[in-house]
Each structure stands twice: as structure tokens, then as C-alpha cells.
Amino acid sequence: MSSRFHLYVSQRGEVSKAQEYTMRILALVAALIAGGVFLLLLGFNPFEIYATMLKGALSTAGMRQETVKLMIPLCLTSLGVTLAFKMRFWNIGAEGQICAGAIAASYFAYFHNHLPQGILLSVMAVAAIITGGLWGMLPAYFKTRFGTNETLFTLMLNYIIGFFITYLREGPWRDPQGGFAATPRFLKQARLPLVNFPGVGNVHIGWIVMFVILIWVFFYLRYTKQGYELTVVGENINTARYAGMPVKKIILRTMFLSAGICGLVGMLQVAGPDRQLTDAVANGRGFTAVSIAWLSRLSPIGIALVSFLFSVMEKGCSMMQTDFRIPASMSEILQGIILFCVLGGEFFINFRIGRTKKEA
């Protein structure tokens, strides 16, 4: 008879809130250490790099403005997908919904730019929300009607609309004056005005939109009947049916709102920093938003914090790139490591691993 060590996984009993948060902070520390080791292997001093990142993102007003500009679409998109995720509807299509909103907004920016700025921008925003929302309702309709898988459906729609932008750029909406295939720049009245963000400086008005939507989502989920309904559908669709909830209607409505917010992001991007319609309008934010939403455990306040952190990291990494010649993809690697550690940490909140001696 030989004895061996066996690892086993067992479920933890009650976990207090304090323990939960300790675990998450530990995960974050572990992520920084793991990232540090990675930087060490590349031959850099991790402390120096981390310091540069922070400095690069926050030290001057200009840097802070850039960081906020990165944060606006990330935070808003995360809030958008959170509505769907709360209903356990896996909306991986934020990328495409941003594009849909951007196209609708650009249409009015290019073809109805005789309108005064305030009206034009409002029309662009409403068009973006409706178009984004309808684009998101498509997979929701097919799910309620035919039971199709929304993960694949939303994902695939991203490619269709992404390439549609490429078509517009190279075809009908191509700037005839431009040397290479690109859409024309927006006229002044189709651009977002700058508003002073206290302590940061002038940033396009999207930051106000971000705070309004943040408060709205928080309020909607917690204090409205519709928010209650979508949570019930997400937690247990059988109970929702049992309680007589109009499940299909709730799914369609929630997806319209979720995708509508993402569509609005598209409008804010084309009328804000981009000033034209490009096929990089979403630029992977729809996917980053999925990570942010999960890391924040679908809490709107958490989303504000995490999307801020992600923006600092992204901005800081571009600084790191110029100062140390470390590729900016380092930011993505670090994000990946953090995600891995924090999501891995969730496992340890619910389970423990033990070692037993077992007769074999």
C-alpha cells in the first residue's frame, strides 16, 4: 500500500463581505506581482514602470483629459452590456451596436448638417440609440422566437456591421477630396462641445452623458419595476413565467436598452474624439466592456471604478511605450493578467482547495 497526496476542491460555507473584498484585493495584488515578474523578465524595474504608468495617466491636465476620454466609451459600454448580463443574456455584440449607432449618427452628420448644432446633435444621439437598440434587438428577437444562441448571434453581427462601415468608407461615404479611402471630417455643428470637467479640464460633453447614464442604470436596476423584472428573468426564467411576467417582452425591451446605450457610445465617439466615421470606432471596447462588467460583478459603481482603472492602464501604457519602448500591447497583457487573477480569485471565494492523504 502506498500513500499519495491528493488535492481536493470543496465548497466554502458562509463567506463574509469582508472576506470577499480581502480576497479581491489580494487578487489584484497578485496580478500586480505577476505583471511585475513579467516586466522583470523583460529586464525592466516593475516599480519604475508602474510609477510611470500612473504618472503618464494622471500627472498633467492633458493626460487626465486623455484618460477621461478613454474612460467615457468604456464605462458607458460596460453599463450597456450590464443590463443584458443582469438578465443572463450574453450580449457580446456591443462592438457591433457601437458601430450601428455610429453609422446612424454619421448619416445625420453628413447629410443633414444644415441643422443647428443642438438639434443636430440631439437627432444624432436619438438615431444612434434607436439604431443600436434595434441592432441589438435582432438577436433578442431570434432568441425569443426560435431559441437561437445569443452569444454566437451577437458576436457574428459584429462582423457584418464592422465590414459595412468599411464599405461605406470605401464606397458611398468616401471623401472625394481625400487621398486615401476615408470618410469626410464632420462639420463643426456635428461635433460635441467641450465642457469643463472639474480638476481635469475641457473634455467633450460625453463625460456628462456618462454620469447621467451611470446614475440612470443604477437607479433603473434597483428601483424600477422593469429593473426588477429583468433581474427575475435573469435569475430564474421559470419563476418569471410562473409569476406571469411577459418574459419575451422583457428580453426584447432590455436588449433594446442595453444595445441602445452601446449605440449612443458610437455617436459619442464619432462626434467626439474621432470627428469622422472610421472602422475603428468600436476598437475592441465592446469586448473590454464584457471584462469590466464581470470584474465589477455587474455593479454600476464598480463599473465606474474598474473602467477608470482600465483607462489609467491604457493611457499609462502609451506613456510607458514612449519612455521605455515597451510595446503598448503590454497594457493588454497586464489587463489579461489582472482579469485572470481576479476571476481566478472568484473561484477561491466560493471554493477551497485542500490536501488529503489518501490510502491507495
Partner: protein
């Protein structure tokens, strides 16, 4: 109990296993002899599967021992079991759909030379199966044969089959039984779990009957008949301390005519059921699990589509209506589903939020007001002495009895005319169960029509005014309480007819 001098292949000695407070197996001793087919008979929840799971290494016994050919063995995992030559065939197949039968059989045997070739087995056992056929092309019975082969190629001498006939057609059952007889001839020992009497009598050499976790007796099949087995299976009548409120039944509230319901796969779940339920009465529903109870409750509640027949509530047709439409008709019907957290409550939400499920729609405006629900929750906790750390605790953290009180309390607060309860005391201890019975009696006294789907015949007999018995989706009897006995209900549950049928109904 008969005395045997043959050496047993398997001997179970005083096995006990508890899950929480429930004693699933209580001091069970059983022998299996070489080359015999032993049937393990009992109602649902009598402990058959638990016992076999201990033999196949899925559970470890709390006490007692397992002897293989006279030697004590410890079976820590299904792998250990198969090494010892014990193979279990579960109700749910574990096969890779896109592989062929042979590939599935080889899968997991790690290509060691010791295994017997599946092809030679097919020949020696006269099996009618094509080993090159993909699993997704196979019928249920072919898949089962593959499972059997999987176990046999790993040199199992002892086979345990968990309700193998549940998924088969009558013709397929014959084929399976022929296979079992061939295997028996080849010297294998077989245990077959079932609750169908005809099968026990057709295939087994001996029968072990379990009731509520205890072994009632082991008898030779030749010496047994359906009546003796039924009596052993349902147990002797016990007088429980459940009172039956004395009321005079009122008008018919719920009337069901020729109700036929098909399941998702087109199978008949309910076959032309007709009955009526009056105010101030409790109508019990008895039957072996899976006889159509779920379809009955859910079709009345508007959660499962009705194929044909009618359901009327206070004179209004409700068949074909959704739960929402039924609510909008303004007739209050309460439904306590069998899986409380699976349907009926939201586990991750607290008590007030769960109370809101049925009332939030009546609130005006877009906002959700919780003040009223919080007050109601406090009252409910007080009235029903629900044990909870606080109103903010998610209901999934409460014990089963308290979860049930929340659900029943919520439904009763809506002052329903009809109350449908499916296994309302399942998983509850005696104290909590008594509270639930008291609540049901109270409702009955208030004039509510109660449909009580139960599994314990003693409880049904003690609580209900009338008992209807379902057997394979058919209504086999509706018996007045004063005529009902356990033996009668037991026979009706397995679909037997008695001579004096009409007198009871």
C-alpha cells in the same frame, strides 16, 4: 427471510447513509449470489439508488461494510468499483454522441490489453447491435446496450442497472430482458433497480424490497405475487398525528374534463384526465413519481400547453391561457411547485423581493415600492415563525422548511380560491411538515379548494378528503377517504384493476 448457504458474490452488511437529517439507507444488509438477477424494489425515495451508489463507489457508507467474495472492500470511486468488477449502468447515458459504439466502448479503457473485445461479447451474448454505428443514430435501447457493453468489456461480473426500463418501449424491454438472461447464463450477477412489479416478476430470481430507507424483506420471486409485493412496497398503514379538518365541501371550483397533455418530446404525460375540485376540500393526488403529477399542476397553472380537454376555474375556461392571462381574469389561483427555488421563488433575492413577485404589477407607475412588501415580510416571518437572519438574507440561505413557509405564506396572502401544492413537504422535517399541514387545513376551513400532490400515502390518507390516483398519466381512481386504504392506493398506483372498482369511486 430465506437462508442460503451458497457463497455470496456481494454482501452488504448493515449499510447506513444519511444526507443531512434524512436517513436514506438505514442498516441495510443484502446478499447477491453468482448468476442471479436480484430486483431492488421500492417507491421513489425509498433508498434504492443510494444503496447502489454506495456499491458503485459514488457514495461512501456512513457505517457498515461491503464484502466482495467474502472479503471486505473499500470502494472510494466508480473507478475502484470497476476494478473490482462492479459496473453500474445509470439512467442517464454517458456516451459521446459523435463517436461510434466501439469508440465509446474503447474510450476510457486506455487501450490496455486486458479488456474483452466488444465484438466477441456481441457474438456470445447474441446482441443485435452494430458497433460501427454512431451514437446519435442510435435508439435509446441501442445506447443502453452500448452502456452495458462498456461495463462488460471492463470485465464486470456484477452489473447494477438503475431503472433501465424507464426509457424503453415494451418491445425494447423484452430485448433487454433477453440480454440480461444471456448474461445471467454467462455467470454474471445482476441487480436491477425498479418500481415496476410486472418487471420484477418477469425477470428476477429474488426481490429485495425497500421502504423509507429500510429493507422490508428479501423474497424469492417464485413465492411472491403482485399483492404481497405491493404491500411490502407501500408499508403498513401508520396512524399519523395529522388532523383532517371537518368541513362540508362547497361548489365545484376547478373542473377538469378530458385533459390530455403532451411533453416536449411528444410523449403523452396526461391521458384524458377528468375530475373536479370543490371549495373546502383537499383532493390528494397519489402516484409513483413521474406519473403525470407535474404536467397536471403545470397545465392547470398555465405553464404547460394543453393538447386537448378543458380546465375551468369558477366556470371560466383557463386552458390555453398563460399565467398572466389567468391572473388578469381576476380569479386567484395559487401554485406551490415541487422545486421551490427552481420555480416559485428567486433564491438570490430576499423575502420582501420574493413577495413582490406576485404583487409588483399592481403597483402604479414605473417605480418599484418596497415598503409594503417589507412590512408584509415582517408579518410573515412573525406569523409563520420563519427562521431567518434578517429580511436582507437571500431565501436560498434559508432551510427548506423556511423556504416553503415563505412560498406558501406568499400564496396564501393572496387569498386564493384554489391552492395547488406539489410535494409541499418534500425535504422538510416533521415539525415543518406539520406546520404546512396545519396551514393547508386552515385554508380548507376558509373555503379554499386545495389540490395536494403527495408521495407519502400515510399523509395523503390522513390529510385528504378524496384521493385521486395517477398511473402512467392515466387517472386510475378517485377514492373517498373513508374507502381508501394503503393497499388499494398502492395497487391503483401500479395500474392494477380491482373487482369492486365502482364502489370506491
Amino acid at each position: 427471510m430465506q437462508i442460503e448457504n451458497r457463497p455470496a458474490v456481494i454482501e452488504l452488511k448493515n449499510l447506513s447513509k444519511s444526507f443531512g437529517k434524512v436517513k436514506a439507507n438505514n442498516n441495510i444488509s443484502l446478499k447477491l449470489y453468482p448468476g442471479e438477477i436480484l430486483a431492488l424494489l421500492g417507491e421513489n425515495g425509498s433508498g434504492k439508488t443510494t444503496l447502489m451508489n454506495m456499491l458503485s463507489g459514488i457514495y461512501q457508507p456512513d457505517s457498515g461494510s461491503i464484502l466482495l467474495n467474502g472479503k471486505t472492500v473499500k470502494i472510494n470511486s466508480p473507478k475502484d468499483a470497476i476494478k473490482l468488477g462492479i459496473g453500474m449502468i445509470h439512467q442517464h447515458f454517458k456516451l459521446v454522441d459523435v463517436f461510434t459504439a466501439e469508440e465509446n466502448i474503447k474510450l476510457g479503457s486506455r487501450g490496455k490489453g486486458e479488456s474483452i473485445s466488444a465484438r466477441s461479447l456481441v457474438q456470445s451474448l447474441n446482441l443485435n447491435i452494430d458497433l460501427d454505428k454512431k451514437i446519435y443514430d442510435m435508439s435509446v435501447s441501442e445506447k443502453q446496450t452500448v452502456e452495458v457493453l462498456k461495463v462488460l468489456t471492463r470485465k464486470a461480473d456484477i452489473l447494477v442497472l438503475d431503472e433501465p426500463t424507464a426509457v424503453l418501449t415494451p418491445q425494447e424491454i423484452d430485448t433487454l430482458f433477453n440480454t440480461l438472461r444471456e448474461m445471467k447464463k454467462a455467470g454474471k450477477s445482476i441487480i436491477i433497480i425498479t418500481h415496476k412489479l410486472e418487471e420484477v416478476l418477469a425477470i428476477s430470481d429474488r426481490v429485495a424490497v425497500l421502504h423509507k430507507g429500510r429493507l422490508v424483506d428479501t423474497v424469492n420471486t417464485k413465492e411472491a405475487d403482485r399483492f404481497s409485493l405491493t404491500e411490502m412496497m407501500v408499508g403498513r398503514q401508520v396512524d399519523l398525528d395529522i388532523k383532517r379538518a371537518k368541513t362540508i365541501p362547497g361548489d365545484v371550483v376547478l373542473s377538469v374534463e378530458g385533459l390530455t397533455v403532451h411533453g416536449n418530446e411528444g410523449n403523452v404525460e396526461l391521458d384524458k384526465i377528468s375530475f373536479s375540485l370543490r371549495a373546502s376540500e383537499i383532493l390528494g393526488v397519489a402516484g409513483i413519481a413521474g406519473s403525470g403529477q407535474k404536467a397536471l399542476c403545470e397545465s392547470i397553472a398555465g405553464l404547460q400547453p394543453v393538447t386537448s380537454g378543458s380546465i375551468s376555474l369558477s366556470g371560466q375556461r383557463i386552458d390555453g391561457l398563460s399565467p398572466r392571462q389567468i391572473i388578469e381574469l381576476g380569479i386567484s389561483m395559487a401554485f406551490i411547485p415541487e422545486d421551490r427555488l427552481g420555480m416559485g421563488l428567486i433564491g438570490s433575492m430576499n423575502i420582501p423581493d420574493n413577495l413582490l413577485l406576485k404583487t409588483y404589477r399592481d403597483q402604479k407607475g414605473l417605480l418599484l415600492k418596497r415598503t409594503q412588501a417589507r412590512k408584509e415580510a415582517e408579518e410573515l416571518v412573525e406569523q409563520l415563525s420563519i427562521v431567518t437572519p434578517g429580511l436582507k438574507t437571500p431565501v436560498s440561505k434559508l432551510s427548506g422548511g423556511n423556504v416553503q413557509k415563505v412560498l406558501l405564506g406568499r400564496e396564501i396572502n393572496l387569498s386564493p380560491k384554489v391552492l395547488i401544492t406539489a410535494y409541499p413537504v418534500r425535504g422538510l422535517d416533521i415539525g415543518a411538515s406539520m406546520t404546512i399541514y396545519d396551514m393547508l387545513n386552515e385554508q380548507k376551513e376558509k373555503g379554499v379548494a386545495v389540490l395536494f400532490v403527495g408521495e407519502d400515502l400515510d399523509v395523503l390518507l390522513a390529510l385528504c378528503d378524496r384521493i385521486m390516483v395517477l398511473s402512467s398519466g392515466k387517472l386510475s381512481a378517485i377514492v373517498e377517504n373513508r374507502f381508501a386504504t394503503k393497499a388499494l392506493l398502492g395497487m391503483k398506483m401500479v395500474g392494477m384493476t380491482t373487482d369492486k372498482e365502482d364502489e370506491y369511486v
